[in-house]
Symmetry: C3
């Protein structure tokens, strides 16, 4: 009976997390230029298709198999048995839930490389990204992982998923280089479809309730209410603060900051949603809302071109969320009177995961660049990746004026 | 064990209701003009962000706390304990579910004020709207509410959520005034993106199964089947009838009536989904389909500009649904042979909630108008709120023709 | 208690399957020309509204009522009692879940008839389609159905839903005839909005977890993990293979093949998701990815115009999936050493359902054609069905250039 209830819970939560890929696709398609809207969706689709297969073959075992010295797992490859002790659900259900997390982690990178990376190179990256994610995931969540052994606490993955993905995105964008003309005065890179980006944001927020609350892996966890309240209120506070902060800094209630603010609040509460009280969840959201606006500016200063803000949302706020557990956790938090030990562990763990993600991705992208298969040609970039790589345009809207001009005298509403 | 099952049920249903905000955003972005598509999404985002915070701080307590004379709740502020007796789920889970309802109620107003209201004024309205909703919600659903004491039955909120929101929307639109040129001959206000509006409609319908069935707050309720069947068939009947009715009245199978018909059927069955037999649910849907088309015309006659039809969908059909319980409820319905008592109570309750919503909103908007911060300038309205308030356009589609013209001779599909 | 858990499972899975209609609508709106994007959404809406009502009145009884000679059901009309023995959930909950399947089956046809079929004729078709679906559904899933009696195994409907729908679509497209100019050189039919089509695809994939895993009708089924892993990996393999195959065949990583590849993988695993091991699920996906690209070419050769690929996705891969059970089922599969018996039954069953779907639809469409109410006029087809039948255009985007030109000197970001 308990198994049945947990199965319902984890399968439906896993489906919600899977659906976040649809959210990533729309968010990124909406934020890039129209001529590259399809190519970014194709890359998110590659995250899902290649990523889920690699995670079935190797990633799941590397992450959750019996540990070799706390560094990586050694059982459970090819969906074989993990042999690590009883779970709250069957192993394939657990795989399904965790697969959606692995795919989300590499999807973060797709946004940072948009508008200029070749498609086959991206397929190769996904293989590397899933394997690297699974290794550092083992450190924190695996049975016997070395960071878990130190006492690191990352409930649903501010570090494991988001700091990993966000720092991978930073390395990828750094090696790829900026889009042509990105740092020249007078050029504009206009988002193709902001209502589509908001659609993606609402889907991501919806899926995040599966992401955070489902990470209990059990319907019997007493803290599910705390988790959903923290998830809701951190995102709300961050979304509101980012909009108001953007108004103060840039003279407009900026829609892209509404989007990235909400996402930053979700990222930042992901580590602590089960550990911090709700008032602290709200404070974390406020900090996330400021941080996402400010760190978007840092990229500009560093000369790194991250078209959708993958680093500000996932990298900077993944760190924030992981560290915030060391400050606000009801048990162990510095501000709760429990001393700096947990804070130190969280800092070490967040740094380890971020450096690992950055380093592996930097090397992988440098190899792809050295092979000459990383970046499209300048001509292809100008015409757009949709047409150059995929032979299609995203939109074919001749426009109502044209349609009305073409209206024949005989046309009317059909009567039958 | 029962707690775990109920938690799964209510959390997932609550996530569905939350996702309805994505539906509202897309529906309204699709129905307004392109130059205001972003500004309406920003207002829905404000419903969520400001609304959830206000409902955590005060609304939840006002609605479900220990009652002061049946008028408002006095415990449970700041997510403190309600002290009102045992629930089927934990208090934070209950808060999450009810928060999504409160946010939905004020979101109804966002559509009616679209294309002409300032953003900061809307933020202030959301605070007032959430508090007013929580008070009238207490009357019907709170422990000891005065309408509950009279025997009013509103299962999932045709009155509490929809009549409140729809009459608030009517008052808001009346005080704001019509869009420039709206009642002048020859001007057209063309919906920016009807496929997007249909996307929103399907999301709303999907979420409504959480809205209605989740309102059992218990997976053990024997009437869940009746609720989902009623919800499905009322919406289907209303959507079909509204399209056919629009064909008969206006000579076209009108897509906006397909949208508003479905939504009207959902609104109208919300009060009675657990109380009326399925054949009556279908009849209620038929009536809703006619009513939504006809009441759209009434607005025109009254000279009130409600750009997305918030009043016809939520106001008129919220009343219809509340009153229909007095006619068709298996226990107590007039047409079921149980006399007019319940019908009288439903009429009184629907009127009380509608008048309260209308009145509070009218006063709030009149104050904002008197302060001179309610409405954008005529210049801003002409250029569009997206650019004037948010510094962005919703869409940047240079169009395939432009992209094809720019295609260099060397471009082709990349081979590797 | 078990009833409560199953109710949560089946209601939420049913809501997911219902949401697939939103996916169909967006997928098809995105793949057809802009001037017909609304008309196809209206037809999907008709699938839902007319289809759910007909399935309540007659379809459910025909499919799951007490059997007359294994051919059709005789109880349960008008949502009356089925009298067929105990279910894992209440009858209205079971109706809700199965209703969403019936609606999905006829929705497959909407894509194949897009851009040229009248609206009232489509309403009539939906009635016929739902009834025909319910009869052949009875053969396989009904109590005492003749194909069930032979031992046919179709877990979630590769034959019952998809082969039925796909072959119905083939017949419909054959009788309707091609769009004007479709097989003339130099004409192009450009997809209106591919990001919207991808949105639909992600919604369909999300809903499919409800479709396949929910078909256990019980949260206690031990194979839920196997089902979700098979569903995920078949779709992933098919999506990846279809893209790579399209690159090899057509020189571009084709986005429409990413879409139809994923859907083909989902269709093909639907029959066997609970019966075949996960490695076989992956292989079935690989085959589906090749088949969907190749069978798209067959349509061209046959001179049949199926604008969105309903037959390649649902027809060809519905057959593939049904037959694959005869090859790979752990119990009974030819390749598992259990001989050809099951394979023969699956071939017979798939053929029977496909021929039935094709035949009934062919006759229904031939009658509509003979009555002169099937197809719009050539003038209406040229101007587009959105304007001709529904009096609306899908999109009204004047474009940012126009908006910027209109920007008055006084406009700026509003300060309060």
């Amino acid at each position: 009976m308990a198994l049945a209830v947990n199965t319902v819970w984890v399968v439906l939560a896993g489906a919600l997390v899977f659906f976040m890929e649809g959210g990533f696709a729309l968010l990124e398609a909406g934020l890039v230029q129209t001529k590259n809207a399809l190519s970014i969706v194709m890359k998110v689709m590659a995250d899902v298709t290649v990523g889920s297969i690699v995670y079935a073959l190797l990633g799941f075992g590397l992450m959750f198999g019996l540990s070799r010295a706390g560094l990586f797992g050694t059982t459970g490859y090819f969906l074989g048995p993990l042999r690590t002790g009883p779970l709250t659900v069957s192993e394939p259900v657990f795989w399904f839930f965790e697969m959606a997390f692995a795919v989300a982690a590499v999807s973060i990178v797709s946004g940072a490389v948009s508008e200029r990376m070749r498609f086959p190179a991206y397929l190769l990256y996904v293989v590397v990204g899933i394997l690297a994610y699974s290794v550092s995931g083992h450190w924190v969540w695996g049975p016997g992982g070395w960071l878990a052994g130190l006492g690191m606490r990352d409930f649903a993955g501010s570090a494991v998923v988001h700091a990993f993905g966000g720092f991978s995105a930073l390395a990828a964008a750094a090696v790829l280089g900026a889009r042509l003309g990105r740092f020249e005065p007078g050029t504009e890179f206009l988002p193709s479809n902001l209502p589509l980006a908001f659609t993606g944001t609402f889907i991501l927020w919806f899926g995040w309730f599966g992401f955070n609350a489902g990470s209990t892996l059990s319907a019997f966890a007493p803290d599910i209410g705390q988790i959903v309240a923290n998830t809701m209120l951190s995102a709300a506070a961050a979304g509101l603060v980012a909009v108001l902060w953007s108004r103060w800094r840039f003279d407009a209630y900026d829609p892209t900051m509404a989007i990235n603010g909400v996402l930053a609040g979700l990222v930042a509460i992901t580590a602590g949603c089960a550990y911090v009280p709700v008032w602290a969840g709200g404070l974390i959201g406020v900090a996330a809302g400021v941080l996402v606006v400010e760190s978007t500016g840092w990229l500009e200063a560093w000369g790194i071109d991250d078209p959708v803000g993958a680093f500000p949302v996932h990298g900077a706020n993944g760190l924030l969320g992981t560290v915030a557990v060391g400050l606000f956790a009801t048990q162990g938090g510095l501000f709760m009177g429990d001393g700096p030990h947990l804070l130190g562990v969280q800092l070490l763990g967040a740094a380890a995961v971020a450096v690992w993600g950055f380093g592996v991705t930097y090397v992988a992208f440098a190899v792809l660049r050295a092979l000459g298969i990383l970046r499209v040609s300048a001509d292809e970039e100008r015409v757009g990746l949709d047409w150059a790589l995929h032979g299609r345009h995203a939109y074919h809207h001749p426009g109502p004026a044209a349609a009305e001009r073409a209206r024949p005298a005989s046309a009317g509403h059909t009567l039958v």
